[in-house]
Structure formats: C-alpha cells, structure tokens
Point group: C2
C-alpha cells in the first residue's frame, strides 16, 4: 500500500490560556493542512532554553487542551535539551522550554520529539487490517525501512508524518510517496 | 554481525593549495579519529553560499589531493544548495560553496552529502563475505533498517559512518552499536 509523506517542521500547539498570554488575540489561519480542521497559523513564537533559542516557530491551530512543542533531535541538540519521543498529547516527562510571543512569555513543559506516525481513519484501519505499528519502505539513493506508529481517529487524512530529521535522512520531501510493507 | 557507529558532523578535507590560501600554515592535530592516519584539526572554516553561512566547520586532516566539503541535507537547506549524495572523492556535479579561512577564501566545488558507508579492510570483507551494500538494523524507540555502502580499503577501522541527519533520525550517538543483517 502506498502513502504520501507529510514532513513536520518544528511547531507549537497552544492551549487557550497560553495563547492569551503569548498573543492576547485569536489564532489566524495562514493555510489549512491536510489533517481535518487543522491549520498553520500566521502566529510564530520563539523557543528559548538556557543554551540557545529558535525563532519563527509556527503555531498550529486550533487551540488544544494542552500546550505542546514538537521539535527534532537536531533542534534538541541546539537547545541543549533531551525531549522524549512521544505521541501527541503524551507529555509526561516532556522537556521544559520558554515560549516567547509578541505579548508575553511562558515557561512550560510539553516539549517532545513527535513519533513517526500514520494518520488513518478508524474505519480504514479495520477495513485494510492495518496493525498498530507498520514498516514503511523508502526508496531512493538513501533507502531503508522505518517503523511507524499507527494513529487511527474518526476523521483523518491518510498520510505518514515524519519530522525533518527523518525526512532529511532519507531525502524525503512533503508529498513524496512511500510504501507500507505490512498491508 | 555487530558494528559501532561513527557520527560524522559537517567537515572539510583540503588539498594543499587550498590549505595555503585559507590558512597559510600546516594543519595541527586536535585529536585522532578512528580511521588510520586521519585526524580532526584545530583549524575550522566558514562555509558560505548566497543564502547563508555555517561557522566553525572543522577541517579533517591530513590534506588530500582534492578539497571536499561534507554536509547534511539539513545543512544543505540552510545553505540553499542541493549537493549530491556521494562517496568520498566522487565530486562530479558536486555543489559550489565559498570556504573562508583566517588568511583567505576560495570558491570551490566539492560539496557533497556523504553516503552512509561501512569502513572495513579488504581482508575482512573477503573473510566475512561482506557484500558491496549491506542492510544495517537500528533498534530503539525510532528503529529501522538502512542501506549502507561498503567501503573496503587496505587499512580501515571497522565502523559505520552516518551523518548527523541519519544519526538524529534514529537517535544514534557516536559509538552506539548497530547490527549488520546480511553477514
């Protein structure tokens, strides 16, 4: 089974209280992304640690009931922190960073390296008998097979989400096609 | 068969003429690296393109008969260039960058993304019947299998060289152990 890749650059999800502190305004839509109801915002923040900082980190909307900062291992080295690899929303023992917006700043936990995951509807997961972990084959001059978690939900756009380290290691770009070996 | 990983950060090899222009001195040893006769130098340069620059790029010695700049795909995006994935010394259609040293600067081709490769002696390659390409299994929370070229030479320290994108995608550090599946 073939599937397209969505490459996730570092980004931030905000809860309403943190949005109010950082921006004091509602989020505004820059462009919709493939996952239903999700969008990239015009709003960007700075992620700061004792060691370093990264500017122009995009906020993804809408607001959630938790604040989460998703970065790559490459970013983590730059920032001097060691975030765990996690699924969205699993923030136990996540790293603490300072988020700086135009109106204010917060120091919060919630910094993770997102796991590699496949978005699929609950219906399609059953229909195509997709297991909870899949092996995804990547062709090309830097080829290989990576293990990917399956994240089924009621509404989902079928795609594999990889961070920029995975994408760059395999020379993948947004929209590239890869193969699910197990289905 | 198990093998340790050597993680290659961005670095530069210089030919004697370019060393003279950039530094006007001989290379000095900071520390020896695992491959016989090779060493990290105290000397560092800046790599510059029209779009951006990267400072503190380490020179590896001794001098070679070609100048070669090895960067990651992540670096390539920052610099706005598209270097090919190549074995050391294969510089046809490599990218052009400016190298800036304390004494002078040069604009040169030779910028590549190094291929994933296994260093092994000619003798061991035959003894263990190692093919020209191998599959290397990486365990852990971000696991997978990557294709790696085999680079046999008269003298070699047995290790797999990966760049920082590969290492960070699989959460590998220098000296970590991985498994060669084909041997």
């Amino acid at each position: 089974m073939k599937v397209n890749v969505g490459v996730s650059n570092r980004h931030v999800h905000l809860k309403k209280q943190d949005l109010d502190i950082l921006f004091g305004t509602d989020l505004t839509i820059k462009n919709k992304i493939n996952q239903p109801g999700q969008f990239a915002c015009n709003e960007v923040v700075t992620i700061k640690t004792e060691k370093s900082e990264i500017n122009n980190v995009r906020v993804l909307g809408p607001t959630r009931n938790y604040t989460q900062i998703e970065i790559s291992k490459t970013d983590a080295y730059k920032l001097g922190i060691n975030p765990p690899v996690r699924s969205s929303g699993c923030l136990e023992n996540s790293e603490v960073v300072t988020i700086i917006g135009p109106k204010g700043s917060i120091k919060t936990n919630g910094c993770i390296i997102a796991d590699r995951h496949l978005h699929i509807t609950n219906e399609d997961k059953i229909k195509y008998n997709v297991p909870d972990k899949i092996n995804v084959k990547i062709s090309g001059i830097k080829s290989g097979i990576i293990e990917v978690n399956v994240k089924a939900s009621k509404e989902a756009y079928f795609e594999v989400h990889l961070d920029t380290d995975d994408a760059n290691a395999f020379l993948l770009k947004n929209g590239d096609e890869v193969e699910i070996l197990d289905v």
